[in-house]
Amino acid sequence: MPFARPWLAWTMALILLGVACAIILPRINAYFVYVADLALIRAIAAIGLVVLSGVAGQLSLCTAALLAVGAYSTGMLMTHLSVGFLPAAICGALVTCVIGTALAAPALRLTGLHLPIVTLAFGVIAVQLIGKGGKLTGGMGGLFLPPATILGWPLDTDLRRFIVIIGPFLLATAASVNFLRLKPGRALFALRDREVIAQALGVNTGGYKILAFAYSAFLAGLAGALYAAFKGYVSVDDFTLWDSIYFFVMIAIGGMTSVAGAIIGAVFVTAVPELLSGLAEASQLIFGALLLLIVAFLPGGLASIWRSWLRPRRAPPALDAVAPE
């Protein structure tokens, strides 16, 4: 149940973040901030995927491609039209939102596994087209961005970029928590559960699907724009199908239906491989084993730990003692 005691899940997320800080911060400060930047950027897109796939049940395999649209729109505006980072990033997020909304069109008609296949195809084609974009997109070689500044303040260190990333991250988190907790979230949960029942309750399921696509694409585009400024360079190699699947891994191990789950998942998938990187080949094995353990023992994801361990177990209600079969 996604709504009760969310603060416990938040405490979890903060503790995880704190532990990660405690381990890494004393050793390599700049490196830690770099990993945190990356984790928060991914978390923004993962939150969008929770809304679209986890809650609304619209399985999408093109998160990374939407990030690419956001990153390239921002990058191209900055490189070719000398637009400042802030307006370019807003445009990038909006362009991605429009393209993502168009993806809702097949979702209104398709059922079952057809939607993930359409989104997969969209992702592969979009990234291919970007790679063939010649001078406009920098082609397969990628696009180098002019240094990003905000009102003359250069984003030239990981810490400064962190400061710029944390704002949109917190806004996206708060907006999504509210969205899922109130009427739209309930409508999306209902439509995932059984679409026709949601309709019988008065939910315009088509409209809500479009909204879920639009919002999750906006967040992916925003994450892409931040990613472009974070790296100073965008390349199609960062937005492969494999990267899209990674976003799925984040929400699957974090928790498919909660914002906290998306954040925990993004931090986990970003930080753990970095922590293990000293172990060379063994790192991938350990990471894979950890994923397996989480999926096997925590089907609700890391965010569900609070539910099973921290929350006092309630006795079954006495009023159901005489339940008929």
């Binding site: 109130l182 979230g185 029942i197 019988a200 008065g202 209600p317 009023l319 339940a323």
Partner: protein, 262 residues
């Protein structure tokens, strides 16, 4: 009560699935604020009729279903719900891993007029509507004798009787005018069934509802309904007040399987 103006009029409602005539030119009227029963053996077409009224299935050409002067045929399911028609389902259709309260809140969808975009950063107006919805749920729960404890429980932890009540609560919480109940007493024991009949009576008067009820529990149907119709193999065999239906030889034939059915 049964003689008020008609709120719902069906004329020649038919539905064919391949070689099966699920509904064959069904026509009747339901008076406002009355309770109308639909009975008949399994497969008689009762649920198909509900599906046609609520828009989940489209009746065949020529069928007319008029609610307060508006033809429902061809409308979207959520559009029909918006007109003030609500329904429950034969098999419990609650979201199992949510609490009863969350399920009932989902039923408040149409009574929360704020734009979904306003939910991102809810202003006091949105918060006000949401907290009014929570209060409304407590009222409905009291009306249906659902305890606070039951409201806070996951629905899959509740007894069938309570689950049925939660589903009815979800259907009526937004104050519909017409409520379609599909086998509300199915699977309930006698005591639960009586309790349910009492709840339906209370809802009917307190919310000024018109109710259409499908059930196999004859005691329930006969005691609640002002008028009822009997379906058999998609055809309407009889229609009238309960006493008349009970005495109708054609109805007795349907239930006892006599050869000289009318």
């Amino acid at each position: 009560m049964a003689d008020g103006p008609a709120i719902l009029e069906l004329s020649a409602v038919s539905k064919r699935f391949g070689g099966v005539q699920a509904l064959d030119a069904i026509s009747f009227e339901v008076a406002a604020h009355s309770t109308f029963g639909i009975i008949g053996p399994n497969g008689a077409g009762k649920t198909t009729l509900f599906n046609c009224i609520s828009g989940m299935q489209q009746p065949d050409g020529g069928s007319r279903i008029v609610y307060r002067g508006e033809n429902l045929v061809g409308r979207a399911v959520h559009g029909i719900a918006r007109l003030g028609i609500s329904r429950t389902f034969q098999n419990i259709a609650l979201i199992r891993d949510q609490t009863a309260r969350q399920n009932i809140l989902t039923g408040m969808h149409l009574d929360l007029p704020y734009s979904p975009l306003a939910a991102f950063f809810p202003m006091p107006r949105v918060r006000g509507q949401e907290s009014a919805a929570l209060l409304r749920i407590e009222e409905i729960a009291d009306l249906l004798k659902l305890s606070r404890q039951a409201l806070a429980s996951r629905v899959d932890a509740l007894s069938l009787g309570h689950q049925k009540k939660v589903e009815i609560a979800r259907a009526v919480v937004r104050r519909p005018e017409l409520l379609l109940l599909d086998e509300p007493a199915g699977g309930l024991n006698d005591q639960e069934s009586e309790d349910l009949a009492e709840s339906i009576r209370r809802l009917r008067t307190d919310l000024n509802l018109t109710v259409i009820l499908i059930d196999h529990d004859m005691g329930l149907v006969m005691s609640l309904c002002d008028r009822l119709c009997v379906l058999d193999f998609g055809e309407m065999v009889a229609i009238g007040p309960p006493a008349q239906i009970q005495a109708d030889p054609a109805v007795i034939a349907v239930y006892l399987g006599s050869d000289d059915a009318a």
